[in-house]
Amino acid sequence: MLNSSLRQLGSVLRAKKISSVELTQMYLDRIATLNSELNAYITVNPEASLAQAREADAVLAQGKGQALTGIPIAQKDIFCAKGWRTTCGSKMLHNFVSPYDAHVISQFNNTGAVNLGKTNMDEFAMGSSNETSHYGAVKNPWDTARVPGGSSGGSAAAVAARLCAAATGTDTGGSIRQPAALCGISGLKPTYGVVSRYGMIAFASSLDQAGPMARSAEDLALLLNTMAGFDERDSTSLQCEPEDYARDLDKPLNGLRIGLPREFFAEGLSSDVGLAVGTAIAEYKKLGASVVDISLPNSRLSIPVYYVLAPAEASSNLSRFDGVRYGYRAPEYTDLADMYEKSRAQGFGAEVKRRIMIGTYVLSHGYYDAYYLQAQKIRRLIAQDFVEAFKQCDIIMGPTSPTTAFNLGEKGDDPVQMYLSDIYTIAVNLAGLPGMSIPAGFGANNMPVGLQIIGTYFAEAQMLNVAHQYQLATDWHSRAPQNIKL
């Protein structure tokens, strides 16, 4: 049951071989046993989850079950869910119980999926190791001395450890793909605007995008079918026709042209990751694909551009956390300014404060043109690189992360080293393109390696096809961490 695909789970639920309540209880029991070690969840609410499961069972009993009806899904704690504590990994929201549902949450609710719990994450999604969470670091199920990646590390660890059937994540600079790679699961960041941001707590609005995290590309397609769609409450939501993202899964890959950006296979890439990715590319050749050498010359500027634009937007987005209306307020203060200062000084962690300060600085009078405007210009050049590249190839591949999972605490003192962990993923967000990561073997210390697949705008169905064909030919994605009991 724990290794079943979402399609299989849906079938057994609709055939009433198992009830949603039984399935949900099974996962809740696993969480009760294993979460203390992995810390993948911030909040579980068995009562609420089981109530949803009972409703799903009633729908299933009427024979009205849909693809995900009754299936327990873990939700990243960045999505507001009505009646659920929603912390965004921060002390600032330690007591915030959302009075409303995010679009993603209501999409899952409408299809009858069960909210299994809220997963741990880097505070306000700022981090690449899940160590910035106020609720403690998440441990990598493959080696609990190592990080799961971030910011959607709780979701990645929960999927890898079979603490949920699937999960959601968000990706601003790699926060779905990098933890997916480090935990050996599959994750997809859709084209910017495909999934509504309504109710998803904003980090950097022009980069944030929600997406599914699961054990296979096939599962991702089913999840994305539920998550995607136009939402008038998000002005940046794209008005596209609904599509079935699973429609092309079975297409053969004959003639597929894979672009390999030479910048992604250069200095900084660790050899074990390079080897595993190379082996995966070789597998694709066997499946009928060809390889094209491409260049993304401006991608080397991704990290500096990102660390101007994302903090700029974040510094403004996080201004609402002021202790006035909800969330953390310092217990003692002398006046209004003191209340703001103490509440924010005590409520935010170090990485969040660092980015608020960077963002405030780059937007300030006299620096705006040199930093923010300049970064916006380079952002367009980075996007243009991809447009050029896609004239030569159908899909781009490379490593998701330069290394496998590093040790907890290893990069804690060096933010720049931490930021470099996202060197291959950030350009995709800056360009607004869809990107995904799928398991592609193991590197040193038997830690998982992720293969990144980047498509052109709205190429999600094609990317899922490309990933699915690889997963039919290999079994990396169905490996489970040995030290986690099944």
């Binding site: 999505f79 507001c80 929603t86 965004c88 929201l93 915030f96 959302s98 009075p99 409303y100 995010a102 941001r197 309504y198 109710g199 998803m200 707590i201 904003a202 950097a204 609005s205 022009s206 008038e232 409450r233 998000d234 002005s235 940046t236 700029a312 937007e313 510094s315 403004s316 996080l318 201004s319 609402r320 956390f321 002021d322 006035v324 209306r325 909800y326 209004l336 703001y340 405030t360 937007l363 300030s364 009078h365 705006y368 923010y372």
Partner: protein
């Protein structure tokens, strides 16, 4: 020691520019569906977006954009096909997001202009002036901080947070408080005229900030101080007068003006410092990534142009040119749309059967609307649309005058009687009706006596009964003529055709 009254100092030139915040009359907020109605219990109109819950997003209200376009067209401004919403970042408890969504370097309305009429005073002739509009941009209002009733704490009411505003910025074209007030009044009239703002100043729907500086004529602009939140024309006049005097005295005493923001205290009649330029915020404007750039297609501009009523300037010119009204009457009638429309309807309803509008007695209608109707509304403190007597009723009364059926005195008696009916209903209904006009004329026999035989008989009786006065009149005491008019009118029970009666009296008394 400062003087309360302004002393004209010709060696100083006063320079004033205005920033006016007009609340747009949409029923929901600019970025959410919450109601904008005034006066609700605190925070009952604060939805998730107004409170700025985590994760909520703004969605632009098209009604606000349409109103901004209408304003731009009304001042002959360029409507930007592409404008951008920006975040203005600062912390304040009634600013829930920690930033205000506004427009910065790309506003929706560009350069325009309006013509203002500065009224005559005891010492100066009235004149006309063109004031240039720099720009107008859309933004959201903040909530309100309530400092009373909370025992040393501050209450926050977010009902107003997110109410749409159009901030209208003028060039520093005004040269006196009187010009600034005339500009503000013209703008106030215009935004109500085109139906984008209710203009209610008590409720904060129309709020002015005045940038004031003084300089020696011919020299560069002086340093300005900004007087914030002037919510009445009277306070605007007082505040600017005080500020100008203060700046002139400061400079003449060898001081310098620091750029600053000041508040006007109406109780003391003084401006006082709020913050200096050094204390000003760095708002860290940047384009709001939650909102797409505002693209306005040409069709929408044309749609709005079609919806615009005839503008006050054009209507005033037409009243002068085509209706033959004086500039003063035309200006009074076009001070707001309701009055102007009422006047036009009255003129239409005053026509005799089959008569064309060209032959209307516009002067008669204008006199009635200004001297009777407007005076009455002023006296009763009524809003400009609360007419006690409807346009068709007054039109019928005037029609009967023009037809010679009733005289002016009867007309006025009827009008007053009708108005009282309306007042007694609390102005919930009009007094009288066209039918009632004719019914009362008929029932009460109010038809004026134009039968010269009847009037002559009546005059003969009066002459016979007042031989002594007649003799006095004939010996040169002309003033007695009025005495005879009074007697004759009384004898006719007020119904005599006054022109005819005058002629007959003159003739017979002349003997």
């Amino acid at each position: 020691m400062l003087h309360k009254t302004i002393v004209r100092a010709p060696e100083w030139e006063i320079v004033i520019g205005l920033e006016v915040h007009t609340q747009l009359s949409t029923s929901s907020k600019i970025f959410s569906g919450a109601s904008t109605a005034f006066g609700a219990e605190p925070n009952t109109q604060a939805d998730a977006v107004s409170i700025a819950l985590p994760g909520v997003l703004p969605v632009l209200n098209k009604g606000a954009v349409e109103r901004a376009i209408k304003f731009g067209l009304a001042v002959g401004a360029h409507i930007a096909p592409h404008s951008v919403f920006a975040r203005k970042n600062y912390f304040y408890p009634d600013l829930p997001k920690g930033y205000q969504i506004s427009q910065f370097d790309l506003p929706v309305v560009g350069k325009g202009q309006i013509t203002i009429q500065i009224p005559s005073t005891d010492s100066e002739q009235g004149y006309e002036k063109v004031v240039r509009i720099t720009r107008a941009h859309l933004e959201e209002d903040a909530g309100k901080s309530l400092h009373e009733d909370f025992h040393g704490m501050t209450g926050i009411d977010l009902n107003r947070a997110g109410t749409p505003l159009l901030e209208i910025v003028s060039e520093p074209d005004m040269r006196s408080a009187a010009e600034a007030v005339a500009y503000a009044k013209t703008l106030h009239s215009l935004v109500r005229w085109i139906g984008i703002c209710d203009g209610n100043m008590q409720e904060g729907s129309f709020r002015c900030d005045a940038n004031v500086s003084v300089r020696r004529p011919g020299t560069p602009l002086g340093t300005r101080r900004e007087i914030k939140n002037l919510n009445s024309f009277k306070f605007m006049q007082q505040a600017i007068d005080y500020e100008v005097q203060w700046q002139i005295e400061t400079l003449e005493n060898g001081g310098t003006i620091q750029q600053a923001t000041v508040l006007f205290d109406p109780d003391k009649g003084e401006t006082r410092m709020m913050r200096t330029k050094e204390e000003a915020h760095d708002y860290r404007y940047f384009p709001d990534p939650d909102l797409l750039p505002l693209e306005i297609p040409p069709q929408l501009i044309e749609e709005m142009r079609e919806l615009l009523p005839e503008l006050p300037d054009a209507m005033r010119a037409r009243f002068i040119k085509e209706c033959g009204l004086s500039a003063y009457d035309a200006a009074v009638l076009t001070s707001d749309w309701n009055t102007a429309n009422y006047f036009e309807c009255v003129a239409k309803y005053s026509l005799k059967d089959g008569e064309s509008l060209d032959n209307a007695d516009f002067k008669l209608c204008a006199n009635w609307v200004i001297n009777e109707v407007a005076a009455k509304m002023n006296q009763e403190g009524l809003a400009s649309w609360r007419f006690g007597v409807s346009d068709n009723t007054l039109g019928r009364i005037l029609q009967r005058i023009r037809e010679g059926i009733i005289n002016a005195k009867t007309a006025k008696d009827l009008f007053m009687e009708f108005w009282d009916i309306a007042r007694n209903s609390g102005y919930q209904q009009f007094g009288g009706s066209p039918r009632l006009v004719d019914q009362l004329i008929d029932e009460r026999g109010l038809t004026q006596v134009s039968d010269s035989g009847a009037i002559e008989a009546l005059v003969d009786e009066i002459i016979a009964a007042n031989a002594d006065k007649v003799a006095e009149y004939r010996s040169g005491k002309d003033k007695l003529f009025g005495f005879f008019v009074g007697l004759a009118m009384k004898a006719s029970k007020g119904k005599a055709n006054p022109v005819q009666m005058n002629d007959i009296l003159k003739h017979k008394l002349g003997g």
